[in-house]
C-alpha cells in the first residue's frame, strides 16, 4: 500500500539562515530527489549538534551536504559531514511533483490527543492490519477493527471540527447539507497510520484529519513553521 507524505517548512522562520537561488528568477525553485533513508540517517546522527548547515554541493555528484558541529569537551568542535547524493529534477518534470490540492472531503475533524491515539492504534495493530477510521461533523470519531474472532471499537467524543467554512476547495453546499451525525469512513493500513502518529513526538500544535468517504484519509500535523500531511488511500 502506498501513501503520500508532504512536509512543508517555512524556511524563513525555521532556519537561522536561508539562502536559495532557484533555476531562474521566474522559477525560483529547486526540485531535488533524495533517498529518504540516507537523509534520515544523516539527520539522526546530528540530533545533538550545536548547529547544522545544509548545503547543496557538487561532490562526486550533486549532494545535500549536511555539516554538523557536535558538542565536545575539547576546545575544538567535532565536525561531521554527510554528503547525501541527490538527483536534480529538471524543470520539465516539475509538474509531476507539484503539490496536491486538498481533495473535497466529506468530514474534517480534529484528532484526539495523539499519544492516546497512538496507544490505541498500536494495540489494534496486534489484531489486524487494517483499521477503519470514521468521523462525523459532530466531533465524534471511531477507530474500528474487525476480524473473524473479534471486533474492537474505540470511541472519541467532543473532538471538534475545523471551521473550513467557505474554503474554495471545499464544496460548501455539501458540508452545509451534510447530516452532522453521518459518519464518513476510510479503511486504511494500520502501519501507515502508525507512521503518521510517530509525528506526535514533535508535540504538534494542531492535528486533524479529513476523510473522503471510502476514498482517502488525509492527516495533517501543524507545528510552528512546519506542516506534515499524509494522504493514505482507503482500501476495500
Amino acid at each position: 500500500s502506498f501513501c503520500i507524505c508532504i512536509l512543508y517548512l517555512c524556511c524563513a522562520n525555521f532556519f537561522d539562515e536561508y539562502q536559495m537561488e532557484g533555476v531562474s528568477p521566474e522559477d525560483n525553485e529547486i526540485c531535488l530527489e533524495v533517498t529518504p533513508e540516507n537523509l534520515s540517517r544523516a539527520l539522526k546522527t546530528v540530533q545533538t549538534a550545536k548547529s547544522v548547515k545544509v548545503k547543496l554541493t557538487k561532490k562526486h555528484c550533486p549532494c545535500l551536504t549536511i555539516a554538523a558541529e557536535l558538542p565536545t569537551l575539547s576546545s575544538i568542535s567535532r565536525v561531521v559531514t554527510h554528503d547525501v547524493p541527490v538527483d536534480v529534477i529538471p524543470r520539465r518534470l516539475w509538474h509531476e511533483f507539484k503539490e496536491l490540492n486538498v481533495p473535497d472531503f466529506d468530514v474534517s475533524i480534529y484528532l484526539p490527543p495523539l499519544k492516546t491515539m497512538k496507544n490505541v492504534v498500536d494495540r489494534m495493530k496486534n489484531l489486524s492490519n487494517f483499521l477503519v477510521i470514521e468521523a462525523n461533523l459532530n466531533g465524534e470519531m471511531n477507530l474500528k477493527i474487525e476480524t473473524d474472532l473479534v471486533s474492537v471499537t474505540t470511541h472519541f467524543k467532543d473532538l471538534g471540527n475545523p471551521p473550513w467554512g467557505d474554503d474554495s476547495s471545499q464544496d460548501g453546499g455539501l458540508s452545509q447539507s451534510r447530516d452532522p451525525d453521518s459518519m464518513a469512513e476510510a479503511r486504511v493500513d494500520v502501519r501507515r497510520l502508525q507512521q503518521f502518529l510517530m509525528g506526535q513526538q514533535v508535540n504538534p500544535s494542531k492535528a486533524m484529519c479529513n476523510i473522503v468517504h471510502q476514498r482517502i484519509l488525509h492527516l495533517i500535523l501543524l507545528h510552528e513553521d512546519v506542516s506534515l500531511q499524509y494522504f493514505i488511500p482507503a482500501v476495500a
Binding site: 562526486h60 565536545t72 575539547s74 567535532r78 561531521v80 559531514t81 554528503d83 547524493p85
Partner: protein, 395 residues
C-alpha cells in the same frame, strides 16, 4: 585445568566471549602460564582477536604444566553459557571452568544464588595454535581514547557499513566511510567525522597516512570497552599493515588485529581535508589478490597430546580455498612488506619452504614475545613470510 572466576569478573568474561563472537564462529581456548587466552579469527583471516586473562583475574587458576592444551569450540555454545548478562550479574556468584580430557569436554559450572548450579558441558575439538604476530609498540601512529569517543564516532556510520577509512595528521583524525570502486561510487552517501587530537588521551603520529579496515569487526571491541570503561588504544603504521586495537587493565588484555587495505593508488580524497597518502609501493607481480599481508603463526605439525586424541582439525578448508569476502579480496601484499617480514623473522623460517596448508593471513612484522612462543611445540613451523614462488604453487 581448573579455573574459577568470581563476582563481577564473570560478566567481564562473558562480555569478552560476546565480543569475540563478532569476529569468528569458533572460540580458541588456550590456558597458558601467563593466563587464559581466548581467541577468535574470521573465515577470511583478516581479523583476529585475543583476550588474555591473567591468573590474577581468577580466584583460582591451575593449568596443566606438562603439555600444551589447546582447543576450539563453537562460540555460540559458549555464548549460551553466558547468555543473559543481566541475569549473570544478579545471580551468578562463581564460574568454574574445568577440563575433562577423557571426555573431550570443557565444563562451565555457574554457581548461582540459592545454591543453584548450572552445568554446561561443551565438547571441543583439538586445534592448532592461533596466534597473530604483531608488535604494537613499534607502530608509527599510536592513539588512546576513552571508549565514549569511539562509540560516538561509529554511531554516525550505519551498522551495515563494511569499511571505514581513518586518516591522520599531527593534530587531527578523520574517519570516513570507504566506498568501493565502481558504479556504486557515484550514488553512495559519504560521511566524514573529524576528531581533534585533544579529544584523545594520547595522540602520537609519525606517519601522515590513511588506513582502511572493516568497521564491523571493531564494534565488538567497542561494546566491551564501553561496558568496562577501559580506554581503547589504537596502533597502526601504514596501509597494508594491520591496525591493532586494544584494551588493557591489570588483569586482562584484549587485542583486536584487523587487516587493512594496502595502498591503493586510486584512493579517493573526497575533500581538501583528506590526509596525504603515501606514494604507491611498487606493483606486486607475484601476489594473488586474496592473500593477506601477514601470517598468523600457525602450528602446522601435529601437536603432542590433545591432537592425538582425535583427528587434527586444522582449518585447511579455510586457508586453501580462502573465502573471498569483499574484504579479503583487497588484501594485497606488497613486495616491500614481504621483504620487511623476511628480515624481521627471527626463527629463520624464511629458508624453509612454508607449509602450504596453513599459510593464511599474517598480521605482524615481528615475533611475539617469548612467553607466547614458549607454549608452542618445538617442531612447529612458523610461517611468517612465504616467497611468491611457493604461493603461486599453492594457489
Amino acid at each position: 585445568m581448573h579455573c574459577v572466576v568470581t563476582g563481577g569478573n564473570v560478566k567481564v568474561l562473558a562480555k569478552a566471549v560476546h565480543s569475540l563472537s563478532r569476529i569468528g564462529d569458533d572460540l580458541y581456548v588456550e590456558p597458558q602460564e601467563d593466563g587464559l587466552a581466548l581467541r577468535s579469527v574470521n573465515s577470511s583471516r583478516s581479523a583476529y582477536a585475543c583476550f588474555l586473562f591473567a591468573p590474577l583475574f581468577f580466584s583460582r587458576y591451575s593449568v596443566p604444566n606438562d603439555h600444551t592444551f589447546r582447543c576450539k569450540m563453537a562460540i555460540k555454545s559458549v555464548q549460551a553459557v553466558f547468555r543473559s548478562l543481566a541475569t549473570l550479574e544478579k545471580t551468578v556468584e562463581k564460574c568454574h571452568i574445568e577440563l575433562d580430557e577423557q571426555k573431550d569436554r570443557l565444563t562451565f559450572t555457574l554457581h548461582c544464588k540459592h545454591s543453584l548450579l548450572k552445568t554446561h558441558n561443551l565438547s571441543f575439538q583439538d586445534s592448532e595454535s592461533l596466534q597473530a604476530v604483531f608488535d604494537k609498540d613499534s607502530c608509527a601512529n599510536i592513539f588512546r581514547a576513552q571508549p565514549r569517543l569511539l562509540v560516538d564516532t561509529v554511531v554516525h556510520f550505519p551498522s551495515s557499513l563494511e569499511e571505514v577509512t581513518v586518516s591522520v595528521s599531527d593534530e587531527r583524525m578523520w574517519v570516513r566511510n570507504h566506498v568501493e570502486e565502481g558504479a556504486e561510487q557515484s550514488r553512495a552517501m559519504l560521511t566524514e567525522l573529524c576528531l581533534a587530537s585533544d579529544e584523545f588521551d594520547h595522540f602520537s603520529v609519525k606517519n601522515h597516512n590513511s588506513i582502511t579496515f572493516c568497521l564491523k569487526e571493531l564494534r565488538g571491541l567497542l561494546v566491551f570497552a564501553e561496558s568496562t570503561g577501559l580506554p581503547v588504544s589504537m596502533y597502526f603504521d601504514e596501509p597494508g599493515s594491520p591496525v591493532v586495537l586494544s584494551v588493557t587493565d591489570s588483569v586482562l588484555e584484549g587485542n583486536f588485529v584487523l587487516a587493512t587495505l594496502s595502498e591503493d593508488p586510486s584512493l579517493r580524497k573526497n575533500n581538501s581535508k583528506g590526509a596525504h597518502t603515501l606514494p604507491p609501493p611498487p606493483p606486486d607481480d607475484f601476489m594473488n589478490d586474496d592473500i593477506d599481508s601477514y601470517l598468523i603463526a600457525m602450528d602446522t605439525s601435529v601437536a603432542p597430546g590433545p591432537s592425538t586424541a582425535g583427528p587434527p582439525t586444522p582449518p585447511l578448508a579455510d586457508s586453501t580455498c580462502s573465502k573471498q569476502s569483499a574484504v579479503a579480496t583487497h588484501r594485497t601484499r606488497t613486495h616491500r612488506e614481504e621483504d620487511e617480514e623476511a628480515e624481521e623473522d627471527e626463527t629463520d623460517d624464511s629458508d624453509r619452504p612454508p607449509n602450504k596448508k596453513f599459510r593464511s593471513l599474517f598480521f605482524g612484522l615481528v615475533l611475539p614475545p617469548s612467553s607466547q612462543i614458549s607454549t608452542q611445540p618445538v617442531m612447529s613451523q612458523e610461517v611468517l613470510a612465504s616467497d611468491s614462488e611457493n604461493e603461486t604453487q599453492a594457489e
